[in-house]
Subunit: 300 residues, 2 copies
DNA sequence: TGGATCGATAAATTTTATTTATGATATAAG
DNA sequence: CTTATATCATAAATAAAATTTATCGATCCA
């Protein structure tokens, strides 16, 4: 059993081709072929079903590859651990945030990050929540700002802040003079939502079903910007989180009586991350700087 | 980076000696020395602090060894997966149970197990809960019967059964004619408990503190058998789970009005276990055979 | 059908790990 | 205070392993 062979298997799954896999691993194609066969012998199991026209992984092969990926990732984490041992505050740090947060939140923290950790080379990645979680688990991201809750055993998180949703309407809308409306009033209206995959969409739908708001406009905006555009054209209204509202004063925002729905943002990272201590420190920092409470929750 | 080297590191930590570690790995001492040095070069980190009188692991070394253990264990799980792929119902299966359950529970299920899975070579291990969890996580056990709750991310479980605790007293005791007593009455008495480390002790203490029973006899029996002996000598009373009571009719058992404390037993295994499917089946089986409800809870 | 591509195989080669032998240092016993 | 016996490190020789180059047979597509 051999880590290099695991990498071969993983590359093979990725490319579906011996030649390409070998290329990625910077070895010749026979080297890869032989090692794959060897590991099959060693395990006493057929991992690939070969035919003259190609090959595919057996169920057992798929299971082995899935586990091999975890193993290789952990080894890479050992290597990173050693690399960063002498200075955990140096090197590249990749942070993610989902699209309805990133453009409104990153500008707030970027200066603080750069000042506090000058030796870190910070990469900011904007992706939908699902992709972020995936990349986090795959070790491609060090941490991500995500809306609670995220159910992943391998991740832990600290809460950063909570914010309310307001009802965003055009300044020419009938509600433009009002500060508050009731959930009942909202229930009579139709809401524009983002397209599938945005966590904000899920949060809004949650709130609607809990508040008995059934109907939502069957048109889905593909980005927050589009959505705000449509609202300002008086074509729609929507639930808008506070940080987005603050950056878009061209609209009017109506609060929901008794408090609207809220979203809580947490910073998530792998429990096994080599940057774990740094992340804990960062959560502490961000709470001091931008947090609303004296106490903040860590979920480790 | 190399799995064999990880094994060397682990053996080195285990024995604290190059020679012994090499022996365990069936290689010569220089082979081990050289590989350790090589991995240090490769990682660019000193793992061992060497001195003429010996060596110890650096903080970084300790971290690396801890992670290496996980990696090696997962690789072993891949090997086991492959071995058992063609017949998951064959080979050795190690099951644990804690001391206040094992002797009373294993006899109930052993026939069923042997009949249902004739190709499995079943090993039963009796240890205190803490040790069982440790051995489970280390991959030395396939599964263990444990009292809920157990907080371990890497484990999952299915509930098997719940049972009530009764107050066990001698047949010559004043309560020997009674069927029920109240928690208040019990509060006036002193309870004998098992020594530290037994989960039953924790459960009893929990109940006592919740029921306002403050005093417990400051003498700790080292086994359930001793405890029952002492009770029958009229020297004490204690909380006894139902399955223990059934096997010891020489005592009298008084129920607590409104129901006494209960313990729920679950079968726990590693989420990554190669026997996962078998375990799910076993939980199902045991519930059909011995479970009290039609529905049983799986916590995956 | 001919050329290109794919993966398997064989032999030669290189790289890597391991053994044997030995050295330097410290500890324990006489 | 010596001597014997541990310990781990080092060096050279050996064994084992992975890798490369070269080649084959099969399929696919024009």
């Amino acid at each position: 059993m051999n880590l290099q062979t695991f990498k071969y298997l993983i590359a093979l799954e990725k490319h579906g081709s011996f030649r390409l896999a070998a290329e990625e691993c910077f070895v010749s194609q026979p080297a890869l072929s032989i090692q794959i066969k060897k590991v099959e012998d060693e395990l006493g199991v057929v991992l690939l079903e070969r035919s003259p026209k190609g090959f595919f992984f057996t169920p057992c092969g798929k299971e082995v590859v899935a586990r091999a990926k975890k193993v290789v990732q952990q080894v890479e984490e050992i290597e990173a651990l050693a690399r960063n041992w002498h200075n955990p505050y140096s090197g590249p740090l990749s942070l993610g945030a989902f699209p309805t947060l990133a453009p409104y939140f990153f500008p707030h923290i970027i200066d603080h990050l750069v000042d506090s950790y000058p030796q870190l080379q910070i990469n900011l990645i904007e992706e939908k929540t699902g992709i972020l979680v995936q990349r986090l688990l795959a070790g491609e991201l060090d941490a991500a700002f995500l809306a609670l809750p995220i159910k992943e055993d391998d991740l832990e998180y600290g809460e950063i802040f909570s914010e309310e949703f307001f009802v965003g309407v055009s300044k020419r809308h009938a509600w433009a003079e009002r500060d508050q409306i009731t959930a009942q009033e909202l229930a009579a209206e139709q809401l524009l939502l983002l397209e599938d995959g945005h966590c904000l969409r899920g949060q809004a739908l949650d709130y609607c079903s809990r508040s008995g708001i059934g109907e939502v406009l069957n048109f889905r905006a593909s980005s927050m910007e589009t959505l705000l555009q449509m609202i300002s054209m008086q074509r729609a209204m929507s639930l808008v989180p506070q940080c987005v509202a603050e950056k878009n004063p061209q609209l009017h925002y109506v609060a929901l009586e008794g408090g609207g729905p809220t979203r809580t943002i947490g910073l998530y990272w792998r429990k096994s991350s080599v940057r774990r201590d740094l992340m804990l420190e960062l959560v502490d920092d961000l709470n001091r700087e931008y947090g609303q409470k004296d106490e903040f929750a860590l979920h480790l």
